[in-house]
Structures are given as structure tokens and as C-alpha cells.
């Protein structure tokens, strides 16, 4: 996988998808995000991304709202 197609979740636009490649956060925060469904290899899609306010993300069957600063910790790649 080349570095150029490694981006983070907060930079995706509405309707864009990507596969989660990692979560760059302290242990407790990573564990939390993982347990809410943000696991490596899963596909994430941005449903809403208002200019002000958090994003709505779909991972598998789950819809989550998360702040952009937290979404920025989740790296995404176009391919699995």
C-alpha cells in the first residue's frame, strides 16, 4: 500500500468510503473506538459532515456521530 492513499476519516466527504487501517490514539481511546465498531479492515462511510458540528459515520450496520478531531485519529485507505 502506498502512502499517498492513506488518509484519515475526517477528510472524507459526504458519501465517500474507505477501509479503516488504524487508530492513532492512546490505548483507552483506541479500545473505545474499536468497541464501537471502528475496527481495522472495516469499511466506513461518511453520511453527514456539517460545516459546524460532528460527523455521522456508518461502519457496517452501525451509525455513529463523532467529532472531527476524533475522526482524524482513524486512518483510511481506498483499498482493504
Amino acid at each position: 500500500m502506498s502512502l499517498t492513499n492513506l488518509i484519515n476519516l475526517s477528510s472524507l466527504g459526504i458519501g465517500e468510503r474507505g477501509f479503516i487501517t488504524g487508530i492513532h490514539a492512546p490505548d483507552s481511546m483506541r479500545q473505545r473506538l474499536q468497541s464501537m465498531g471502528l475496527r481495522t479492515g472495516r469499511e466506513a462511510e461518511v453520511i453527514r459532515s456539517p460545516r459546524l458540528g460532528p460527523m455521522q459515520i456508518r461502519v457496517g450496520s452501525v451509525h455513529l456521530i463523532m467529532r472531527r478531531c476524533d475522526a482524524a485519529r482513524v486512518t483510511i485507505s481506498a483499498e482493504r
Binding site: 473506538l33 468497541s35 464501537m36 475496527r39 458540528g53 460532528p54 450496520s61 452501525v62 455513529l64
Partner: protein
């Protein structure tokens, strides 16, 4: 007695299942090793008496959140015979790892796949038999909402519970390393036992969200919903509170007043003016708490609370709060007590405590009564609304300042991630149960504190023997004299400082206290107020009343919800200091400017 614990993620219908299996006999209670109240109920399964416990919703048995710690502590300190894992049928890909973690505990598990009706509609098919073979425990498909599959669940529970034995647990953290395997195992099981359409679309929910989460329409609609909720709680609550007050007053007049000639004065005063009025104070909160939680249950169970968080987060994030806190602060403008209890939806302690520090600055309806009275007495009809508006502004400013100052200290490092569940119609039974449990909780936890406080203030304002009640010579007025150096600089006279003491019990009795102290009513009381203070003193007095402390019941609720004397002490100290500083700045500033 056997013990059956229910675990599951938030939004899996755990409470609905709990209510269905237990009927309505549940109660809240303390458990060893656990710092929050848990709901439990005793039922009979076959020939066994079984205690069913509803544990808080968790995402991960090995996680670091407070609720996850609570569930672990509970399981370690209270041996369980049988553990039911509730899963949401349409989110098995997401939820099955939790079931696998629990199956590895060594406690006899029963896997309950709930909301099968929703999954059916989405076209999801689940092979429960194959899952049961792999997990080596009973697996049931059910709908707790509609009762589908419930007879089979009950049969299985009856059979399992009679065979089950409690097992002591080792430190669960030790199993952390197994989690990667669990996720792999879960994915493999899902691909084998669950068939779902390649793209799950939540049609109805998405259609509603297009309106309710609209970039421009969302916030106005949110405020409209909040306005509606507020109106229902407080316009309906007001007359109910009056009715409760009327009943209590009638009982007092017919049954208690005749005792005055029979009982010794001290005992009569203690019983009627201390104890009975204390009970009256507690009782006056009952209608609004019940109504508030009826409405909150609807807002929460429908899925709208998570939307409210989404809509207001950008505003609140800057204050270190989240959108759910915003809902509670708004509701606090009716009454602080239920708003404080409502913060329980926030599961991180830092966030919750910060919200509980901020809520008491919401200008509640009781304070509004006092302000309306004083402004009508001392200001012209044109000035009065301006003064009131100024009080509301101060209330917002104090809330904002508090959040900014304490935000850093109470900041939680938990990420702000919330699930956005699909919209669901709230169940009437759930809504009613919620109101019932909350009022039970309030009465059990806060009533003793409130009643003792009312009795204490009665003692201070009526003793020592021979003093005029509320007047010169009482301990209260001595206290007022003693506080002179503190209250003089903010323009509050000694007589008014006794009123502040009454105001501490409840703002509703401030006016009554003035009537009792002076023996004056109506325009005569207005005249007396005018002789006690000029307009600058009046504003300073109102600023102090707005900020110094909401009331004894709010304080009692802060204590019962935080379970921390330190937190309650800090909150009280902060609001007293802030009140004094603001009044001082205003009073001295206005005087310096020559007003």
C-alpha cells in the same frame, strides 16, 4: 436465590427485555463493589426464585469506560448463576464480539438476539441453531417489544437457571489479549450464520433525519421540540404542584392545626413547621420529576436525544460539554432538580459533573417567581422586563463562565462518539416505568437531606425560646448580624439576609417568609420592600439570589447524584463566591457611578 444478570450494548432494548421478563416489580438498589444504583427484580422461574439484574449498557467487557468498570466490578463481587447477553439482531456484526467475551467468562450464558422484527424488515436472516452449536449455549431470536419468541426464552431460562451454578471470576482484564481472536472468531461466525443484504439502508430513519438533522432546519426544529417538552413538563407540572400543595395545606389546616392547643409549642413547631413543611417541600417536586422523566423517556427512547447531541455539539464542545448537557441546561430553566437527575444519560463522570456544576445556574421557575415579585414591587412596568431579561443574561453568562473555568479540570479524555440509533416509537410502559423509578430514586436518596434542611432552618428562625419567629433575637438574625461585614458591601440588609436563609430551603417560600416576618401583605409588603432597599440594592439582591445556591433540593440532588460531598461542597462554594463577586461588582460599581 439464583441470580440472573442481563448485559448488552446500549440501544439493544435491554430495559424493554427486563421489564417484560420481570413484570413491574422492579426496584433500584445498591450492590457491593458498584457505585451506581442498579435495577433489579425478583421473579419465579419454574421452582426457582431468581433475582434479575439489569446491568448498564456496555460496548466492551474489557473496556475502560466507567460503565464497563461497573459491570466488571459487579460480576467480580456478586456471583451470578446465569448471564443473559442481549444483542441487536440488525447489528450482529458489531455486537457479537461482546457475546463472545461473555461466553468466555465461565458463567452459564444465554444469548438473546433481540429486535428480530427490525432485522426481518431489513432482510437479515440469522441461523440461531448454527450460532448455538458454535457458542455451546442457548441462542434465541426474540422481540422484547412485541413479545415474539418470549415463551421459548422463558422455558430456556427456567431450564438453564435450575442447572446453573455461580462461578467466581478472575480478574477480567487478563483476558484482554484474547480480543483479536474474538473479533476474528466473530467475523467468521457472522459470515457463516447471518445473511444480510449487501447494503443496509435505514429508509424511514434516513428520511426523518433529512429533516431533523437538516443543516439549517435542524437547530430551529430542536428548539421547537425543546420548547414543546418544556411546556408539557412545566405548564402541566405547575397546576399539579399547586394541587399537591393544596392537599398538603388542607391536611395541615384540618388535621394538624388543632394539635396546636394540645401539643407543647416546641413539639408542635418541630412537627408541623419543620417536619411537615419539609415533607411538603419534597412532595412539591414529585409532579415535575415524574413529568420530566416521562418526556425524557420519550425523547431518549425515540432516538432524538442522540440527534440533539449531534445538532448542538459544535456549540457545546467549546464549553467542554456535549449536546445532551445542553438539553439538561435548557430543562433546568424549569427546575434544576430533574435536570440534574437527567444528566445520568451522560456516562463519563467528568462530563457529567461539569454539567451538574452548570445546571444550577439555570434560572428556574421558582427563582423567576421571586424576581417577578421584586421587580413588580420596585420597578416601573417599563423597567421590570428589562431587569428580568438582565437576570436571564446573567444566568447564561454564569453557566458559560463555570463551564470554561471547570472545563479543564473535569475534561474527560473519552472520545465523543455516540451511536445514532434508528428512530423507534417509545413504549408507553417504558415511559411510565421511567417516571416511577426516577421518583422512587429521588424520594429515597434526597428526601432525608431536604427534610433535615427544612427542620434546621426552622430551628434557626424560631429559636432560642422567646424570640419572634424569623425576627430579632433568633439564631437566624444573629447569623444575619454576623454576616453583616460580608453582606453590607453588596447592599443586603440584615433583615434580608434572613430571607436568604429561607431562600436556601426553597425559593418558593421567599415571599412567604417576607410575609411571615413582617406581617404585611400586598401593597404594604411592596412598601416595606421599598423601605428595605432601593433599586440598586434590589438588583444586587436578585443577582445574589440568582447565583448563590439554587435550593436545598438541588443541593441534595447534586449530592445524591454525584455521591460526593467534595463535589457538592465545591459546587456550593463556587456558587456562593460567584454570587458575592457578581453582586459586589454590580453594587459597588453602580454606587461608584453615582446611582
Amino acid at each position: 436465590m439464583k441470580r440472573f444478570a442481563i448485559v448488552g450494548m446500549p440501544n439493544t432494548g435491554k430495559s424493554t427485555f427486563f421489564n417484560r421478563i420481570t413484570g413491574s416489580s422492579s426496584r433500584v438498589g445498591n450492590w457491593p463493589g458498584v457505585t451506581i444504583d442498579l435495577l433489579s427484580a425478583r421473579i419465579v422461574l419454574g421452582s426457582e426464585a431468581v433475582e434479575v439484574i439489569d446491568l448498564p449498557g456496555i460496548y466492551d467487557l474489557h473496556g475502560f469506560s466507567e460503565d464497563e468498570q461497573i459491570v466488571r466490578n459487579f460480576l467480580e463481587n456478586n456471583p451470578v448463576d446465569l448471564i443473559g447477553v442481549l444483542l441487536n439482531a440488525s447489528q450482529l456484526d458489531h455486537q457479537l464480539p461482546l457475546a463472545l467475551q461473555i461466553c468466555k467468562l465461565g458463567i452459564q450464558p444465554v444469548v438473546l438476539i433481540n429486535m428480530i422484527d427490525e432485522a426481518d424488515q431489513l432482510g437479515i436472516r440469522i441461523d440461531a441453531g448454527a450460532l448455538a452449536d458454535d457458542l455451546q449455549c442457548p441462542v434465541h431470536l426474540l422481540s422484547a417489544r412485541h413479545g415474539t419468541g418470549f415463551n421459548e426464552v422463558r422455558e430456556t431460562l427456567t431450564r438453564s437457571v435450575s442447572e446453573a451454578r455461580p462461578r467466581p471470576l478472575d480478574d477480567m482484564r487478563n483476558c484482554l489479549h484474547a480480543d483479536d481472536e474474538i473479533v476474528q472468531h466473530s467475523d467468521e461466525l457472522i459470515s457463516r450464520c447471518v445473511s444480510a443484504p449487501s447494503k443496509l439502508v435505514r429508509k424511514v430513519t434516513e428520511r426523518i433525519d433529512r429533516v431533523l438533522l437538516h443543516p439549517w432546519l435542524g437547530l430551529p426544529l430542536f428548539f421547537a421540540v425543546m420548547f414543546l417538552v418544556f411546556q408539557v413538563v412545566y405548564t402541566l407540572g405547575g397546576p399539579l404542584q399547586d394541587a399537591v400543595a393544596f392537599i398538603l395545606e388542607s391536611f395541615k389546616n384540618t388535621a394538624l392545626l388543632p394539635l396546636e392547643s394540645v401539643l407543647p409549642p416546641a413539639l408542635y413547631g418541630f412537627l408541623v413547621k419543620g417536619l411537615y413543611d419539609g415533607i411538603g417541600t419534597v412532595a412539591s417536586f414529585v409532579p415535575v420529576i415524574i413529568l420530566f422523566f416521562f418526556m425524557m423517556a420519550i425523547v431518549e427512547d425515540s432516538g432524538y436525544l442522540a440527534r440533539a447531541a449531534f445538532l448542538t455539539d459544535s456549540l457545546m464542545a467549546r464549553m467542554g460539554l456535549d449536546g445532551r448537557g445542553f438539553v439538561m441546561i435548557l430543562m433546568g430553566f424549569g427546575c434544576n432538580v430533574p435536570a440534574l437527575m437527567g444528566t445520568r444519560v451522560m456516562r463519563s463522570r467528568g462530563l457529567r459533573w461539569l454539567t451538574m456544576l452548570v445546571v444550577p445556574f439555570s434560572l428556574c421557575s421558582a427563582r423567576l417567581q421571586v424576581f417577578v415579585f421584586i421587580t413588580t414591587a420596585l420597578f416601573s412596568p417599563r423597567q421590570a422586563p428589562v431587569v428580568l431579561f438582565f437576570m436571564y443574561l446573567t444566568s447564561f453568562a454564569a453557566a458559560f463562565l463555570t463551564a470554561v473555568i471547570f472545563g479543564n479540570r473535569l475534561r474527560s479524555d473519552e472520545p465523543f462518539v455516540l451511536e445514532l440509533p434508528p428512530y423507534r416509537a417509545p413504549l408507553l410502559k417504558q415511559v411510565l416505568m421511567r417516571g416511577w423509578h426516577e421518583i422512587h430514586h429521588f424520594l429515597r436518596r434526597a428526601s432525608t437531606f431536604i427534610i433535615s434542611g427544612v427542620v434546621l432552618v426552622w430551628l434557626l428562625t424560631h429559636y432560642p425560646v422567646g424570640s419572634t419567629p424569623g425576627g430579632a433575637g433568633t439564631w437566624a438574625s444573629m447569623l444575619g448580624e454576623g454576616l453583616k461585614p460580608v453582606l453590607d458591601p453588596i447592599g443586603i440588609s440584615a433583615a434580608m439576609s434572613v430571607v436568604l436563609l429561607f431562600g436556601f430551603v426553597a425559593k418558593e417560600i421567599v415571599i412567604g417568609a417576607m410575609v411571615a416576618m413582617t406581617g404585611l401583605q400586598g401593597s404594604a409588603l411592596n412598601g416595606y420592600l421599598g423601605s428595605q432597599m432601593d433599586t440598586i440594592q434590589a438588583i444586587s439582591f436578585m443577582l445574589f439570589v440568582l447565583l448563590y445556591t439554587p435550593c436545598l433540593s438541588t443541593l441534595a440532588t447534586q449530592l445524591s447524584e454525584s455521591r460526593s460531598w467534595k463535589f457538592t461542597g465545591i459546587s456550593l462554594t463556587w456558587s456562593l463566591s460567584l454570587a458575592w463577586a457578581v453582586s459586589f461588582a454590580f453594587y459597588q460599581g453602580a454606587r461608584a457611578l453615582g446611582y
